[in-house]
Symmetry: C2
Subunit: 184 residues, 2 copies
């Protein structure tokens, strides 16, 4: 997949519709992948995102230590990999190996990006809050890479030639992105 | 629409797949409705949600003062109302009147709920953070009302008899919820 740089200005459009993501992290030689639904844009300028990650998750520890992560956006074609990465702990399993996903080097962070995802966002942690049974990580996007065939200008081109995102409903149930409609 | 109480335990399943919501607020006799995509669950116990609301929005002021809000979840049938409530300011327009939506009384908050939405979550604000060009409101869910025909047990029953949610892609483009699939 040949990816191109995408304007940070429109980075929120990758996640605005609430799709599942794969969060990659790295600390002292250890890489991990976390399947996450609880992430969203929270500021346009600067371009901030929030991610709620369970205190029990191994990725929580890696991200607290390294203060960086990447948000990787999978298409429907990766449903098995997405569910697998949400079903094992990185404490016990190298999820890049187990899911046969390919790590590629980022520019601004040491955590790897996932080659097979149609978009990757490199992020640095700016704040962390302890809220209930999760930590809320506030991150700033530094660089976005996308597969241009998934976009029409700065908009996601969903449901055109098999371009679909995944949205988690709970347990092993996922919703696939549906038709695109205009409000007027 | 006859609604029933829904278990707080599963309240996150209303928003887990990233749909657009209508946030209602009230302060000193003034009601407002805000169309919002930047909201998500962030803790299971207690049941917390985060909402990023632009500092420019009138609802931001009402919620900062009243420290309460309701999250109302619209179906696709309300696309015109959803887009209208995202296109006007409550400073100038009574959006309940303009969108012809019906306010109904909540139990734990003074802000009204929206009758026409298939689910309503009454919330109290627990924390507020000033982050970039938005405020991040951390709220605790106190009560959930749903139209039971939208659910199969504690799961959203999407794409069964016209049951569809809306997901904002940007400007006047929305994605409708698509097929539900199992990961294995």
């Amino acid at each position: 997949m040949i990816k191109k740089e995408f304007s940070l200005e429109y980075a929120h459009r990758l996640l605005n519709h609430g799709c599942v993501v794969l969060v990659t992290s790295h600390f002292r030689g250890i890489n991990n992948i976390l399947t996450l639904s609880w992430q969203m844009p929270i500021s346009s300028r600067p371009k901030l995102f929030a991610l709620a990650i369970s205190k029990k998750h191994f990725s929580n520890k890696l991200i607290r230590k390294s203060k960086e992560l990447a948000i990787n956006v999978p298409g429907r074609n990766l449903i098995k990999e997405v569910h697998l990465c949400g079903s094992y702990s990185g404490k016990k399993v190298n999820k890049f190996d187990k899911a046969k996903l390919s790590p590629i080097a980022a520019n601004f962070i040491t955590a790897p990006l996932i080659e097979e995802c149609f978009a990757n966002i490199e992020c640095k942690v700016r704040n962390m809050y302890n809220l209930g049974d999760h930590m809320l990580f506030i991150v700033e996007a530094l660089r976005v890479l996308v597969d241009p065939k998934w976009f029409d200008g700065n908009f996601l081109k969903l449901n055109d030639s098999g371009i679909e995102t995944l949205h988690h409903l709970g347990k092993d149930l996922y919703m696939v992105s549906g038709a695109v409609i205009k409000a007027r």
